[in-house]
Symmetry: C3
Subunit: 352 residues, 3 copies
């Protein structure tokens, strides 16, 4: 007998209340850590300089937020979005325990909403809550997302529903205590002098100067994360029916520009952060293809005290990614990424 194995679920397979304990799990090797921390051009020494990370009270180098997000998200792909058309929204993504090299991350997802499209009979939207934990059962990331998913069989019945209340997963950013005896100032030359809490002004938009062109390396990074969505790495599938796929070509997995935008913004807003606290909402507002050059800008939207920590403040921002499209002789700017991002940022008064 010939059996065509299927992987992943389709819209009609989801029910509100379902719990998926995702398969495999992922131990963070130095290979994965290096590949992801570096392709994004992250410049926060907590992820790059062991001496600095230990001085700040961490056990070792900590995974930058873009890597934590990518690991947890990707573990959910096979069950949730291997057969997705597009990821529509990230919501309430919160960071918890730091992720170190050697940690093993396992992930589970609850279905909190299922909604067939009213216009397109072949697709619909699933709303999920995903939680990643380390080997000590500490939550490292909790997030919700909405994803547009194909039906396998257009005639199949879909049970539309949404959970009345979505419980909040306890997940609070771990930050080592402030300890004057650690002599933080000795290492202040390793970060920029103009990225402390005091340096940000609400209403300013910082245009980050660097850009980075996307190559076919996106495919190996996507596989490295266990992201099995075929639209990123199966050219033959796209060639069979290009009209079905965005851009008619392989699309770059959203976690790539997500990580890249965080990294490109890092020297201007992130290298004196001790952690990202929460991404309130986020969307991929335009597709990215091989050959595109990705840029980013950060708008400062708010500042407030960090509860219980005189040495830190919370900086609220909007991180936007963009690329340029050639139209005749001109280049047109196109937004590709939008993220409402809150960071825990050191105060100069305490660190420099």
């Amino acid at each position: 007998m010939i059996i065509r194995k299927k992987r992943g679920n389709f819209l009609e397979d989801f029910r509100v209340g379902q719990l998926f304990r995702h398969k495999v799990g992922k131990t963070v090797t130095e290979g994965l850590f290096n590949a992801f921390t570096e392709f994004g051009m992250t410049t926060n020494p907590l992820s790059k300089n062991l001496r600095y990370a230990q001085r700040y009270g961490f056990k070792g180098l900590i995974a930058p937020p873009g890597l934590v997000m990518n690991i947890v998200f990707s573990q959910s792909v096979e069950d949730i979005s291997e057969n997705a058309r597009a990821n529509l929204e990230y919501r309430d993504m919160r960071f918890g325990a730091p992720v170190y090299v050697g940690d093993t991350i396992e992930v589970e997802t609850t279905i909190v909403g299922v909604q067939p499209s009213s216009k397109e009979p072949d697709r619909g939207v699933v709303h999920v809550q995903t939680t990643g934990r380390n080997q000590n059962s500490e939550v490292v990331l909790a997030l919700q997302r909405k994803v547009q998913i194909w039906k396998d069989n257009q005639e199949a019945k879909v049970e539309a529903a949404s959970q009345a209340e979505i419980p909040t997963i306890p997940c609070d950013l771990y930050i080592p205590a402030y300890d004057k005896s650690r002599q933080y100032r000795e290492l202040a030359h390793l970060t920029n002098p103009d990225t402390y809490f005091e340096d940000f002004t609400i209403g300013d938009t910082l245009e980050h100067s660097r850009g980075r062109t996307v190559t076919t390396a996106h495919m190996q990074w996507t596989a490295m994360l266990d992201n099995t969505s075929q639209v990123h790495s199966n050219q033959y599938m796209v060639d069979q029916n290009p009209g079905k796929y965005i851009g008619g070509q392989l699309i770059v997995y959203g976690g790539i520009p997500f990580n890249l935008c965080l990294g490109l913004s890092c020297p201007d807003v992130g290298d004196n952060a001790v952690g990202d606290v929460c991404y309130i909402t986020g969307r991929h507002t335009g597709p990215v293809f091989v050959g595109d050059t990705v840029f980013a800008a950060t708008e400062i939207t708010g500042k407030r005290d960090y509860p219980g920590r005189a040495d830190l403040g919370i900086v609220a921002t909007i991180l936007r990614g963009h690329k340029f499209l050639k139209k005749g002789d001109a280049w047109e700017k196109m937004e590709i990424f939008y993220l409402e991002r809150e960071m825990a940022v050191k105060r100069r008064s305490h660190y420099a």
Copy 2:
């Protein structure tokens, strides 16, 4: 004096009985481990999830079979096949001690047959037996292969011969003892529920759903393995004489689709295996080039008890790889890889 250094041997350099102790050796870093385990999209938690690997009695994550094969094989390339035209056959490839991060693998090869081509005066076939050992002198892999090799000098005499009997290198798969107290069932959600010994039916063919497009990243993986065969990475050499090379272009090193086919099959037949036992015979039946999308299918050809282990069974399979070639408006399937593969597979009765 200008000295054109040569690397690798040619057909006329080989004699039956020669022993090559290959140079350099290779310590398995987390960088190598990560790159190879991940590009193949392997899904067996023994190679991905430290908590799971340790629960099963291994010291750490174990290298998947495609990585073990690639390390040992590639160490033999400079001496045996740097000047090869094609690798014709793998034979009796058996796995032994597990390979962990930090292990150092050294390899040796004995020449067991040399046969000049009767039709083509510029080439012939060498038959070798290759053995890889770790730093404790434990065999991790033993294999034979036949490889078609160029002559350097068409006039050179070649001593045709073959060894009457090829001794068997002791090499038995290490599998930790079954131990009920380990509570394997607690982790059963990390693997697929339909890939236990009981789930396979002789005669079935499982078509694995995922495909993976090959990019120029093949060159960095080939170098990462110390595979120095120039047909995979020296474009200038090919451009000098395209007619001499298969496809008239750089060909992808066979270990890449080998590893990829193992990985693509993993969620359907390999994620509840505790190891690959033996590859009876294998061949690259078609070339792979950049841009090809690789797929795989597994035919179940036999099932039997695993000697002395009530918790395991041996599943015999044929793993085939294929790609599609565009012919006019149609796509034609082309086989690229054939492997007779036996795996040690967990029984549901004992693990789930």
Copy 3:
């Protein structure tokens, strides 16, 4: 307010005597170690085989010279050469303490000369001295370089000056003591038999047989090193004004062919070296682009005793890299790299 953040300095920002303590710092992970050691096809077992490296008295695998150079150099890029047009010369590059996985490298640079171009009002040359240290404050590399840098504002005044005397940074190659009881001969099969001190003849030129084609992977390696120079990875920037950039396209970061030439030469001159001592001068004599195949050759220019070490000698060489350009039907050789290189090489009398 919209703030266009700038990164890097321009010609008018430099003054003789300035000290830059470079930001971030870099811990060497196994991911970085693997990627760089392997892409260059290095064959020295000190960087590949832990058993061998430990037998020779090192704590672990040691980073090959091309990786040490790349780490230290790249840490200086943001402050010194992010806005460079070209790197003109390396000078007096000396190696010190070995670099192991897990080491953290921090780097500082002193400006020793600033010279505006007499012909081109938009650029000039900066001469710097750069020193890299590990977490124990041991110098791992000291070098000088001259780099051609754009002005940001053509009207800005530049203070031309040069330091009368450039102090020598103490930096001596660490080589473990020779110890007969270590039984080096047992491992002699892991290196080539014809690359001992006794094997080299002054005046010989060794043409290394292997070549390696450069792919877009150069961009991920450049980012992995924290090299932020935009001419290597920002296609959009080049597309705005191709005439401004060498070749009118993204140029491959010089550290890539530097490392590649060292690696390609390794089996013929470097696998019995215990370290590179000094690069007296070096230049990128031609640009490298994606698709080029890089080759290398080594001229033996001198041999002398290694002070205080009867087991070693110093081999002085010129390492040249080249590629071929298609001109009509012919291929024309073009030099791309020139390096005066001295190595500490084992004597056969003591090791084989």
